[in-house]
Amino acid sequence: MSTVIVGLFEGVETAARAGRALKGLSLPAGSVTTISAVPLPDGAIVTDPEPVRFPRIVIAGWFVGAAAGLGLTIATYMLYPLITGGKTIVSVPPTLIITYEVAMLGALLATLFGGGREMGLLRFPPRMIHDPRIHDGKIALCARVEGDEQARRAMDAMKTAGGTEVRAEEGEL
C-alpha cells in the first residue's frame, strides 16, 4: 500500500488548478487521478498517460471466435457427414453464418474481459482509495506520494486550489 493524498473539489476548474499544481511536484506518470461520478474529458483535470490497449484484444477475440466457429462447423461436418447427392460435405454458406456468429461472440467476450481487466475491475487489494461523496457531485483528486515532504506539498497544493477535506490515506489508486 502507498500513501495517497485525497482532496475533494466542488468544481472542475478548481480541481484542474490543483491538478496543474500537482504537476509541479514531478510525481511519476499515473500518480495523479480523479474519482468522479461523471466521466471527465481526458486533460480536463488529469491526463491518462497510458493508451487504451484492449481494442487489440477485441480484434484478437474476433479471430479466435472465427477460428472456433470455423472449427466447430467443419468438425461437425467431418464427424457426422451428411452425404447428399451432388452436395459437398463441407457447405460454405452455413459455415460462414456460424463462423460469423461465433466470431462476434468472441469479440464481445474479449471486450468484456479485456475492458474489465484494463479497467482494473475484479481487483480487490486490501484497500482501494474511494470517496462516496463523489455521488453528491464532488470530484476527488488523488495523488500517490512518497515521503512526508511530497505529501505535505501535495496537500498544500490541493488546499491552495480550493480542495476541502484534504487528507492522507493508505491504499491503492
Binding site: 451428411l82 456460424i98 456468429e101
Partner: protein, 469 residues
Amino acid sequence: MSAEAPRADDHHLARTDEAEMFERLSRSNLVTTWRWYLGVGVAGAVLLWGLIVFLYMAMVGMGVTGYNKPVFWGLYEASLVFWIGLSHSGTLISAILRLTHATWRAPVLRGAEAMTAFTLMVGGLIPIVHLGRNWRVYYALPYPSSRELWPNMRSPLMWDAMAITTYLLGSLTFLYVGMIPDLALLRDKSAGWRRKFYSALSLGFRGTHEQWRRYHVASTLFAILIIPIAVSVHSIVSWDFAMAKTPGWHSTIFAPYFVVGAIFSGIAGVVIVMAILRKAFRLESVLTPLHFDNLGKLLCTMTLLWGYFYFTEFLTVWYNRNPEEWEVFGSYGGHYLPLFLTMVICNFVIPFPMLCLKRVRRSISLILVPACSIVIGMYAERLLIVIPSLARRNDPFIWANYFPTWVEFSVMAGAAAMFVLLYMLFAKFFPIMAISDIKERLFHTTGRTIGGMTVESIAQVEGEGEAHA
C-alpha cells in the same frame, strides 16, 4: 495557507440536488408499493399456469395443441418471431443512439436494453417449448456423444440457436456493462445485504479517470459490435422460413423485411415500456414528451418502411401469379381476412396518420394508441407469415386450417407473464434509469443565450483531450 475562493465560472458536476435526483431516479429500487406486489403476484400466477400447461403438453404430447398436417408450426413459431422481433429495438436503438451521441438518449437506454434481454430470454425458450420432446433439447448442443448425434449445421434452426445465443449473451453483457457505474452508485448509497449485493456486481468500479476512459471505449465497442449481431439475428430468424421451399416463405426479401419488422415492433415496445415506467415510477421529469416525440418520429419512419417492404413483397407475387404462392396470398382475402385486415389497419392505417401529428407524438396517452396498435398488428403479421403458408401448401389435397387451442394460448400467456415478471424484478433490484448517463448529459449541458432566447447547448468530446462546445 488560505484556500482560494471558488470561481463563479467553476464547472460543477452537480447540476441539480443530487440527493433528490438519486431518489427520483432510483424510486423503483427504494420504494416498494402494493401495486408492485400485485403485479408480481399476477404475473407469477399466470407464469405458473403456463408452466403447468406446458408440463401437461410435454406429458401428453403435441396432440393437445392445434397443430395438424400440414400446419406443424403455429402460435409458438409466430410467437418466437414476435418476441425475437420485439427484442430488436432495445439494444439496437441504444447502440445507435450511443454511437450517434443522440443527446436525448440517456433516459431511454436502460429500459430499452432490459426489454431486449428479457424478450430474448422468453423468445429463446419458445423453440424448446415447440420441440415436442423437450427433454431432448440437449441434442442441439455440439458435443461428442456416443450416439454420434451431432447437430446439423446446415439447418437454419441451428443457425438460429447460435445467433440467439450470441445476441442474448451480447445483450446481457451490453446491459450489464452499461449498469456498472450505477451499480457502484447504489453500492455507495446502500447498506446491509444490498451493499454486499451491489459491491459484488459493481466489480470494484470507483470512477477513476482511467476507469471512465476505458469504460467509454468498451461501451462504444459493445455498441459497434451489437448492431451487426442484431441485424444478423433477425435475418437468420427469417431464414428459418426462407430456406424452405414453401410458398410465401421462399423469398430473398425476407431477411431485410424481417429486420425492418423487428425494429418496427421493437420501437413500439420501447414506447409502451417507457410509458409504463414513467407512470409507475413517477419519472415525468426524466422521460419527457421530447423522448416520446423522438421515438414517435422513428416509429413513423418505420411504419413507412414496413409498408414499403410489404408492398414490394406483395407486388412481385401478384405480378408473377405463381399459382402456389398466389393461393397463399389469396387466402388473405378468404379464411385469413380478419388477420390480414388486423395487420394492415394496426400496422399502417392507424399508426401512420397518427404519428404524423406532433400532438400525438408529444402526448403520452395518445402515442400509446399507435404503439399498442403496432404490437397487435405485428403479432398478426407473424401469424400471417407462419400459418397460411403451411395451411395452403403446394398440394391442395392436404390443405387445412389451424386454430390454436387453450394449451397454446396458456403457454404463450405464461411466456408474456415471464417477461413482465422478469422486468418487474429487474426494476426492483437494478437501476432502471441510466443514472450516470443522465448525470453525464446534465454535466455537458449549459444554457446558451442567442438573442432573446436561452437554448440548451451540449459540449461534445470528439477526441481524446479535445472538447468542443
